[in-house]
Symmetry: C2
Subunit: 423 residues, 2 copies
Amino acid sequence: MSMSMATSNHTLFLHNPTNLTNTTNLFPITTTRTATTTFKPISIKCTATTRTQAPPQASTQFQDRVFNFAAGPATLPENVLLKAQSELYNWRGSGMSVMEMSHRGKEFLSIIQKAESDLRTLLNIPSEYSVLFLQGGATTQFAAIPLNLCTPQDTVDYVVTGSWSDKAFKEAQKYCKPKVIWSGKSEKYTKIPSFSGLNQSTDARYLHICANETIHGVEFKDYPTPKNGVLVADMSSNFCSKPVDVSRFGLIYAGAQKNVGPSGVTIVIIRKDLIGNAQGLTPVMLDYKIHDENNSLYNTPPCYGIYMCGLVFEDLVEQGGLKEVEKKNKKKAEILYNAIDDSKGFFRCPVDKSVRSLMNVPFTLEKAELEVEFIKEAAKEKMVQLKGHRSVGGMRASIYNAMPLAGVEKLVAFMKDFQARHA
Amino acid sequence: MSMSMATSNHTLFLHNPTNLTNTTNLFPITTTRTATTTFKPISIKCTATTRTQAPPQASTQFQDRVFNFAAGPATLPENVLLKAQSELYNWRGSGMSVMEMSHRGKEFLSIIQKAESDLRTLLNIPSEYSVLFLQGGATTQFAAIPLNLCTPQDTVDYVVTGSWSDKAFKEAQKYCKPKVIWSGKSEKYTKIPSFSGLNQSTDARYLHICANETIHGVEFKDYPTPKNGVLVADMSSNFCSKPVDVSRFGLIYAGAQKNVGPSGVTIVIIRKDLIGNAQGLTPVMLDYKIHDENNSLYNTPPCYGIYMCGLVFEDLVEQGGLKEVEKKNKKKAEILYNAIDDSKGFFRCPVDKSVRSLMNVPFTLEKAELEVEFIKEAAKEKMVQLKGHRSVGGMRASIYNAMPLAGVEKLVAFMKDFQARHA
């Protein structure tokens, strides 16, 4: 297989100028001389090792990328993908892929330590907080949080602003006595409550919020102060999209697959004094103490995902940090929400303007029968994954850190054109 | 960053023949003309999208690979790595990386369905068994298995043949009444018990074994029949290394990071009638029913890891299936164990010959003071990760499916040379 693969890709790269010229729409590059240079293909001989040599498969590089508005897994920074591709087969002269490295070897230790260090820089994480790289997604944390922070008799408060905080609340019912102290369900999850009006329990061990509801597109712009206990936030879909004062939280958790990496990595930032009191029936893999004592290496972590998160963190630092990232995100969200609000009702966003998400923009069409057509035409224009979540319908544009401004500009231009043709 | 990266890599690829000539020791390929051809570098312009074009970073391709004897994460098939590299940036014209795909989109569904289908072909998995792609490693299954298969009052039997079956037993104590019906501890985990002598509980809900102990190098060559309940096996370190009669098991589980992929994916093969009886306190992410009903897509799975496993399964099918793979593994193990046994005691393997692992070969030196030197010299010869597990010391050569015969031949030649110099 590898031989034929090597040869075919090789041929594509060296002898198929159309791969290059096809793509000048997205990538205007002067490649004529390269494309027309007639190379001799490398003739490859396998050694007794049955190892093969293939040139990097360049053909894919020259194919169009789409603008991917998926809610997660989501678009990643193109330079991060290219760097990952360049290192996949042999990481920095180590002679192996990151996927092949012992998680206890010096190479991988340098990767996970750099990832944590860059994340601490980005969020200015105080030293009294631990950073854990775990598995299982935010859904696993829905159980781990009460198991680690409560006894079965403890009261905890949940603010339910959408599907995800509702799921977190339901899972907590197995392990403690959670109360829903506010729910936006009757208003179809389009609002964030006023903090002063929250009827917090005086004995709550923590107050849980979902900082950004991926499905409903509502985002906390500030954070409530717990009357008792600590603030716990699911930041899966707006993690590292803007600066956050970590010291206001007892625990922050986030699945990586929206803003900071591929799926399969969950990041937990927890104040150290909250670690060490897990309930007796807590699975060892859900016990923060085990992971904290072992620097997230108690068992084999999701090494490649952590490596990818590290490349993203490095890129965010190089962009100037989260203040700069937030500026870009505000700009992107502004032009998209303006396009919706200026459409004279042709496009509609149901979310309270003051709490609209910078990351996930749900919208509908006045003429609902046109929504299928809208999504179909957008896909033809290489703007994909614009369908709203099956539970709410309509459309949703997720515009995470890695969505370029040009992607949002292209979507807005398309929306205006679509309206002109269908108004 | 991406621009400078693109340029620098570009330069390496086009103007640095030393990248090629350096490596003829491991990869004899005729590259002279390519290396000496003088190309014009592609001049790159960024578009408003801030997207960049980089040629695939070929330089790494031409660097030596090491022979990686790590116990896991472990070496992967070179052709699989090259294919993954070729597709990383843009999967088969989809316009996105597999890491960016919605787990509910048709592209990823085709990936996970093909992975399951190829695995079912490899292991000839009967239709009454479900295949689940999960997260959290075998360590998470240590809790999930009793939580799903038992009530807290149920008795279950564990055969403890090494560190991993011991960990599985200890975790089960939280969720049921496990009994150790045999332990190899007093003999330093060098044996597998005779099945007739096993004192099985008449009311055990399952009999748990670790089919291959990664640290101690003992492997079940056949499997015991439970007196009551079903047979459950941790196959993390010999999964897909040989044919297995799945119908003899109620549940097989395996972390992917030894034989079939990167870390972060755990595969569970479970007889469907065993699904649906999880204890009330089972975290939703540890409930097999949830994952079975949702085809492993209840929440976002470790998509890229599943994709890599799929590439490995495809490669194993193309090799002719597990019968062929087993032949290769037996050949590799044979020459390595023979080298140890023929060394007149210079090298020693403590494991009972009849149950020596085909995957993990632990050995020591008669002159223990030479072990550090052995590992150091081997690393200089590009044979890495030969140090034994910290809990047992000595050396360990893990020779999984993806370790080429040439790697073992090189190790054996080195061992003989080392002995000649130090005997």
